[in-house]
Point group: C2
Chain length 465, copies 2
């Protein structure tokens, strides 16, 4: 493999752990502007489709169009599923509906359906017109399934044989068949009504003698995935059972497709990554995508910030109740962010742990009470420690022992509340059927801010003034 | 499959989206206390090993021991890799070194090595003594590789054939061989010096005629993974190339093992999930594990909280510079948390997006400058919007137009700084070779707190007093 064709490896070996080699991207951009198509094709010719997709994403819009123009003749359709939707729009634009429809038709059905689902109605209609009948049907059927269902994930292409076949018959069939999927890991065994009886791993098949019956080679314990199952549940099952492939069945129990691990890897990564983005208020992939325009990014983030502003005003209102106390003793204003902030920090530690444990189903109703008590005690222990540290530091700073005692007590109360809130809030949100990562962070910091300001300023007003 | 054996499905169908069915766990716990081994075995008999592991994790320590005692005779070793290390310690204790060593010997080498790596020196020595020579050697060799390397991930068991073999010879060999792995997806083709020439997918092999040469069936574009490659790079390559299996080579280029997708799925999930935990200061798996004892959890979280306390004092010190201003106009204390907090929130939006984009290698040196400018503008746009909203609200609340203008200007400055910091800080941390998720959050909120308090109180002192 030539050096040009392995931009990732070259970068990694140079000690730069970033993705695409910057020099490589710059080289391509330069070639694009020279408008020398031969030179461009030479540079990107040997690229793997995933690297080609990365390259397209790293270029700016104009360069993306120039690149597509240069490689139009031998554009690899496999590039399309690897692109961010916003970038794919540009590529579709540059390719034109005719070529884009042709590229889509060459993909596996699950990829084609996924891409079609991201288009507008008009775009979809324009592309459907230019597709072969069979592909159009497959895509329409796929889109009829709900967005997050197994039906959307599955591919229709699979290998199924009747349960009374022998190993020999199966192998002969496979050698003769023309339209098998490119890659597959199992053969499904179905009964006369096309209901899956089980799967046979290829490694098992290869080691069996020709006269053996397929149904005797079936792996046990593989339950079919209903077409309407939520994709998170599908991902959980794949992880839990170390599956590489699972059969998908419709309501009548017929085998209608298969889900393979590569589709599930993307979901597992997305679900795990979503938590951090949601907690930070950019959980929607539309919001967090690097490829959005400035205005799009600003407006999509605005909503979350506005919610936060309302809670910030709530906390300020609490402070406002003690305006007179602060006017008399400004040290209260100096110290109050510490009480509120430390509560927020320790509560967030618990919250993040809880969100992950709920997502991986380690934390559920069967151990919730035990873990709540544990977090309460953890909050109290660290509350005591930081009460002592902050109390002594504040008393010394303002040479006022009573102020130290007041802030110490407030710290202890707020960190205890924070520890308990960090676990109870996500559990309650889950109980009401929502995702704790979505709103857990705002609710938690509102609680720790309000409790922090209220206890510290309230105690100070009562004991110091 | 009986209902008892599918506790997850039962739970999910009842509309409870948690993991193990709580009633099932309670039922087992009750049976355990009745000390009726027959009844216990009947309840947990049909469980899949992953569900058995979940069950053990959900019980408390005493019940865990009772359960192990009850199932000791037919304990399934596959349960062990699925357990959290802290829980596995209890299981090892209950099983005793003899049985634990026997169980370990039955696992694939990658799982056995992983488990051994989590033990103390003494435990490892006690177990090694009780193992067959061959297994002990495999584990020792595995542990010689660095923790995060491909060498730790790989399994030694694989199927390799010489490049001059035919399909027929390969199939005959597989039918006759006794010690092949349970499951495999490819056959490696090696030269005379055992260097991998490539892999042949089983689906390809099955469809080929017996006289065809193995080396003519090789898939292109598969580069071997060096044994010392970092596991994050391995995971990236699997995702980028949609791999299911990759060959691992030692320094002399010889094939020494294979990595399969199920090992990589765990890493992909861990790496994606780590970000949220790190940002919240519980990134170390030791810290975030649900199964730690109270004292262990408290002390491990203390360190991060202490760092945060130091930065909180820094912010308080800034406020302290303006103690006199606050004494004159306590409204400043009421409003200042809004300026600092909104800066923190908007900066965190950018930070979380950047951390994910760096982790997935979408953001790198080739597009960093463009994205920095974008985030600067996004920060300015939302800064302007919130300056207007907060300015009007504060001016109206305290019936002081000038106070509204001052807080508006401070909001604009802080949110602009926050947007830029949210992207520049993680890029800088990355540049210096650290993980932005580790310290990005603390640094960012320190910046937004200090800048927020400083601009708001500074401007107010200058313009209002």
């Amino acid at each position: 493999m030539s050096e040009v064709a392995t931009p990732h490896r070259a970068a990694s070996e140079a000690g730069d752990h970033f993705g695409l080699d910057a020099a490589f991207v710059d080289g391509v951009a330069e070639a694009l502007r020279s408008d020398d198509k031969e030179r461009i094709r030479k540079r990107v010719g040997g690229l793997h489709h995933a690297d080609m997709a990365d390259l397209i994403e790293h270029l700016d819009d104009d360069d993306r169009r120039l690149l597509i123009e240069a490689v139009r003749e031998d554009f690899n359709p496999e590039v399309l599923p690897e692109l961010a939707p916003q970038v794919r729009d540009t590529v579709m634009d540059a390719l034109g509906f005719e070529d884009f429809a042709a590229a889509l038709s060459e993909l596996d059905s699950d990829d084609a359906i996924h891409i079609a689902s991201k288009l507008t109605e008009d775009e979809r209609a324009a592309i459907a017109k230019r597709m072969p009948q069979a592909t159009r049907m497959l895509i329409e059927q796929g889109l009829a399934h709900p967005v997050d269902s197994a039906g959307r994930l599955m591919q229709r292409e699979l290998v199924a044989v009747p349960n009374y076949w022998t190993v020999g018959e199966t192998i002969d069939y496979m050698r003769a068949a023309q339209n098998l999927p490119d890659r597959f890991y199992v053969i499904f065994v179905v009964d006369a009504r096309h209901r899956p009886r089980g799967m046979v791993e290829l490694s098992r098949l290869l080691r069996s003698k020709r006269p053996e019956k397929m149904q005797d080679l079936i792996e046990k314990d593989v339950e079919p995935v209903p077409v309407e199952m939520d994709r998170e549940d599908v991902a959980f099952r794949f992880k839990q059972r170390d599956l590489v492939t699972a059969p998908v069945i419709d309501k009548s129990g017929r085998l209608v497709g298969q889900i393979t691990i590569d589709d599930v890897v993307d979901i597992i990564e997305q679900e795990a990554a979503e938590d951090i983005l949601k907690l930070a208020g950019v959980g929607n992939t539309q919001v967090s995508s690097l490829y959005n325009a400035i205005i799009q990014t600003s407006t999509s983030r605005f909503y979350w910030l506005f919610i936060n502003l309302l809670t910030a005003f709530l906390a300020s209102w609490v402070v406002g109740l003690y305006e007179d106390s602060i006017a008399k003793l400004a040290a209260l204003a100096v110290l109050m962010p510490i009480v509120a902030g430390m509560g927020g920090n320790s509560g967030t530690q618990t919250l993040a742990t809880a969100i992950r444990a709920i997502a991986t189903r380690e934390l559920d109703s069967s151990n919730a009470v035990r873990i709540c008590f544990k977090e309460l005690f953890v909050g109290m222990i660290n509350g005591l420690l930081f009460a002592a540290i902050v109390g002594v530091a504040a008393g010394w700073w303002f040479t006022d022992a009573m102020l130290g005692i007041v802030i110490g007590v407030a710290m202890f109360i707020n960190m205890t509340v924070a520890g308990l809130s960090g676990i109870v809030i996500p559990l309650l949100i889950r109980k009401f059927g929502s995702d704790p990562a979505d709103s857990g962070g705002v609710i938690l910091t509102t609680v720790t801010d309000v409790v922090g300001f209220f206890t510290f300023l309230g105690l100070a007003t009562w004991l110091l003034l």
